[in-house]
Symmetry: C2
DNA sequence: TCCCTATATGCAAGGAGTTGAATAGGTGCA
DNA sequence: TGCACCTATTCAACTCCTTGCATATAGGGA
């Protein structure tokens, strides 16, 4: 797992400071990588030392000065080599699914609340990705964009991130329905044959 | 991020040795957590020392002896407490999406091959999850199962894992189509208005 | 004045995960 | 017989990640 490649890739979008890069990781990279600011700053230093990035100091008024990083030709070459190396499986670790797996012995109300929170969060991310989508297209059709754009990588990963958030929404809603139906059937055992009929399927 | 909770949860399915637990992590837990055998053995020892698991030695013929672990009441209590704690965001890190984000400067053929490999793998996982699904239902309808089963957590997470693999398939297919169309339009610039029409959307 | 937020960055300690390597008992096949 | 594979487990070194804390400049509000 190489944070360095995610950083190099994020810098393909253009020059950025450590702080700006951190913001990019909250947005365009969030769908497939995550890193703390501490990690990013350290990686930027390393990559600069290795000549894969170039730094320049920008003096600012009203804001602290900043150092902005640009990917070098050597950095691009390393990205090219990276794309030809064997690909690792995705690493996914999600507490929420552990909780759902354990829901039968856990605090069901708390799990439902966690699902509702995740649902809300996913809806926010989906809305953000839709805005990014529109910004990328700038009024063009997807077909036009994919045919004409110089770079399509960010568009393709945005679509992947979008699908992932939509999946989260669908699954959370379905699981909430199931758990609600179980609450009802637990509370009123005689009505077991009602309540399940309107449950969205996970 | 707590591997310990994933282990405790996996042991809700019943007693297991380290090796069997590792197999469970390849199957029923794979959709939302991953861990190496080394990690698992170490965690089992720790959890046993803390009284959250109980171990017994099983002597076998023709196979090495094994130690089998069972979750204790204290372990169940800890799971219950865990379900009531704040939930962390999912941690996802996926080299393939880094590669796709960098595809414009990378080795496009290698990226396509990586996508095809991931697609194949996702299809295999989906087939596995479908078999697990059928085994769980044992001929019952989903509604019957969700209403009557004592434990539904594993079913709900299996459905989440299934959705995730389906998403991977859809996205890989779409991206492969887009990249193939770009290859064609790169090789024959005059045919740009053909080729894009049959592209699956990411 | 203090707190909060934003931009901008850094240090340190500890834990979790990855990688490489290894051991043992057993079966099946060329 | 040696190799490959399966079951079953362990040690060690290193890297990456998480958490806690901190600094500086600036603006706004109670």
């Amino acid at each position: 797992m190489a944070l360095r490649h995610a950083v190099l890739t994020a810098l393909l979008e253009g020059e950025a400071s450590g702080y700006q890069l951190s913001k990019r990781f909250d947005v365009s990279v969030a769908g497939f990588w995550s890193a703390t600011p501490q990690q990013l700053y350290r990686e930027l230093e390393r990559l600069e030392e290795e000549g894969l990035l170039r730094a320049r100091l920008i003096e600012q008024r009203r804001r602290p000065n900043k150092r902005a990083f640009t990917i070098t030709a050597a950095g691009r070459r390393q990205l090219h080599e990276f794309t030809a190396q064997p690909t690792r499986p995705a690493a996914l670790r999600d507490d929420l699914l552990v909780k759902v797996q354990a829901v039968d012995v856990g605090d069901r109300d708390a799990v439902r609340e966690a699902l509702a929170t995740r649902l809300e969060h996913a809806q926010g991310k989906l809305a953000l990705y839709d805005r990014l989508h529109e910004n990328m297209l700038e009024g063009r059709t997807e077909d036009d964009y994919l045919r004409d754009a110089e770079r399509i990588g960010p568009y393709l990963t945005l679509m992947g991130g979008r699908l992932y958030e939509q999946l989260q929404i669908d699954w959370c809603e379905a699981v909430l329905d199931v758990l609600a139906a179980r609450v009802r059937s637990d509370a009123a055992p005689r009505n077991q044959e009602r309540g399940a009929g309107r449950t969205r399927r996970p």
